[in-house]
């Protein structure tokens, strides 16, 4: 049993509302990611769970017990990782047995617990190695073993791979998830990297300006984003400003400026409403000839970018607007060229319709 429950947690720093009535339950054994841009309140939330910060209002429960005034060192199940820093002058064995030694357990108990945990993380043979002699993945396992030896059941991870090479991160994060799952730990992992969250989380919490914007499984968040912000922050999309011109039982028609018309299955609002149409880049297909059905537009390729195994095309449409299309690179390495004229098509099913945001579209999608 290692669950966390937050009820109406609010935290202010001077005039800034860092967390605004957060309600959240993290289940036993769950791998939860808290995802959001810088300044969303992610780290504050983690520090409140760790006991490093007191909430101004609201309650924190760990394993059903209210822990609001319990200091961090007394929250024995909770272990906060700043990074995976190990004691460099200590061997693997000394690093892992550090917690039990400090707690003055009997030598026999220390020996048994340490060797058992080292076996669990498959490091029994490297017990006498120093951290610098180990790979990044092994160091991570030592750090985790040390946390488990210290009694951790809930891991709090604050951007654990922040300082690492992009290429190494991909391997380490899937390894970390497997380890956490194998050991039956509960993990709360803070990141600003949407790809990381999508890959490792059972559930993702999207935090924005101190509030929870959406909670769901990676699939739910990706395929059913509740807001323009979520869709933009997780995965990104093409966003167009338009007005609903027609609604029937199969969906709605949205008119964009310059006479373009987009058909969507989703229905949000009524005829005459100002809305935003959003289409994921990978759902925008480029072809040489016109297809049957809705949403066939003519455009010219203005830019071609190569992004991690995919090609991204920027296509200028007849009305002057640009739309982006992303295609997984195929084995022949065929790539369209700048200046090519193409038919741009997307299925009405893949067109999301959102009410036009009060603060304007740019405010919801800009990153800088």
């Amino acid at each position: 049993m290692a669950n966390v429950r937050l009820i109406n947690v609010t935290k202010r720093f001077g005039r800034i509302l860092a967390l605004d009535r957060i309600n959240l339950s993290v289940m036993d054994g769950e791998y939860l990611c808290i995802l959001g841009p810088t300044g969303a309140g992610k780290t504050t939330l983690l520090r409140i769970i760790a006991g490093l910060l007191e909430p101004d209002e609201g309650e924190v429960y760990i394993d059903g017990k209210r822990v609001n005034s319990v200091p961090p060192e007394k929250r024995s199940a909770v272990y906060m990782f700043q990074n995976f820093a190990l004691f460099p002058h200590m061997t693997v064995w000394q690093n892992v047995s550090f917690g039990p030694v400090v707690k003055e357990w009997s030598p026999e108990r220390i020996r048994n617990v340490t060797s058992e945990i080292l076996e669990m993380v498959r490091l029994g043979e490297r017990r006498d190695a120093y951290p610098h002699e180990l790979s990044g993945g092994m160091q991570q396992r030592v750090a985790l073993a040390r946390a488990i030896a210290a009694g951790a059941k809930i891991l709090l991870l604050d951007e654990p791979f922040g300082a690492l090479d992009a290429r190494l991160r991909v391997n380490l994060r899937t390894q970390l998830r497997s380890l956490v799952k194998e050991q039956g730990l509960t993990a709360i992992h803070v990141t600003h990297d949407q790809e990381e969250a999508l890959m490792v989380a059972d559930r993702i919490v999207i935090l924005r300006e101190g509030r929870i914007e959406q909670i769901g499984s990676p699939q739910e968040i990706y395929t059913n984003p509740k807001s323009i912000f979520v869709m933009s922050f997780v995965g990104g999309a093409n966003f167009f400003d338009g007005v609903i011109s027609h609604i029937d039982r199969l969906g709605s028609t949205v008119d964009l400026r310059g006479g373009l018309r987009i058909r969507a299955h989703s229905i949000t609002g009524r005829v005459g409403d100002r809305v935003v149409i959003a289409i994921r880049r990978e759902n925008v297909h480029l072809r040489k000839s016109r297809m049957r059905g809705f949403n066939n537009l003519i455009g010219e390729i203005t830019d071609v970018m190569f992004v991690g195994g995919s090609i991204e095309y920027v296509v200028r449409l007849e009305n002057g607007m640009s739309i982006m299309s992303r295609v997984l690179l195929e084995g022949k390495g065929r790539v369209l060229k700048r200046g090519d004229v193409v038919i741009v098509s997307f299925h009405p099913r893949d067109c999301h319709v959102f009410p036009y945001p009060e603060r304007g579209l740019l405010k919801e999608i800009e990153a800088i």
Partner: protein, 366 residues
Amino acid sequence: MPEVKLVNITKRYGRIIANDHINLTIKDGEYVSIIGPSGCGKTTLIKIIAGIIKPDEGEVYINGKLVNDVPIEDRGIGYVFQNIALFPHMTVWDNVIYGPKVKGYPLEEAEELARETIEMIKISAKKDSYPDELSGGTQQKTAVARALMSRSSLLLLDEPLGALDLKVRTVLRYEIKRIVKDLGLTALHVTHDQEEAMSISDRVVVMRKGRIVEAGRPLELYMRPKRLFTANFVGEANFLTGEISKVTENGSIIDLGNNMKLASTDKSRMAGERIVIAFRPEFVYIRKGTGKNTLPGRITNTIYSGNLLRLTIELPGGNEITVKKTIRSGETFPRLGEKVMVNIPPENVLVYPYPEGGLHKELSLE
């Protein structure tokens, strides 16, 4: 003509060779990125071009002139650092106009230049803000604006986006490329982020242990890396060891053991030679039945990441490979434990000699 030419550049720190006989030409108007693991010597190299570090041997030419003894301020370059180095007590405007002012430009001319520059970088609205009032992205834009104020046609970018959030980084890299191309500048960009380099560069240089491993256009490096190290460092790849069993007219047949054989269009190796094959996760196709160039396997893990599904497939003998698949809306996911056949087209099976120090060491990035 802002062309950069490096001839036999060598730099040692005690017993460590940071740059080992580097030869590289960056053409006028070209956007070149240097990538490589930490400690490969990429930062040393850009600092040698800037004039911040002196090489022990070799020559640096800018515009055909030997500049080894020319100090940084006279090399005619703009330089953007990773650690955003703005003057904290000055506004955006004062930061941007600082250089020309110190150099004693006529005020009117300097102001005109500054106005033009902040307009282009799209930070005009923030010109009266102080650095601590700005987001990291806007601070770095200001640093770029300041570097452009020299109006030099060579821009050196040393991990310019390293300190920023991922999403900001993605937006800014395209902004930087746009500005460089709009102004017709020559740019050299050092980064640890291979995706960043691949998405904006005309040419990418891969470095390792002080040497250039290979250089090429991004797509070329991805599709046909000449070296095993590149196949691993640039993008993701699967690696399997085997032996050439036959060289044919169209390529070669590779024996992977456990009754697995694959054809490759590569015919650079000889029959009997021990080799390593590499193939990208995107170029592996899951089939229901048997077919040409297929291997049998079992799905042992599925990870969903946005529109991509990453599958781990265990081959006979226990090796695992990664497969990337686009999920179309309405499509069902392959199941865990399911037995499948995987097809890898022969043109996507890359072949390399088995590395002397062993495969594990060759693929280590640490």
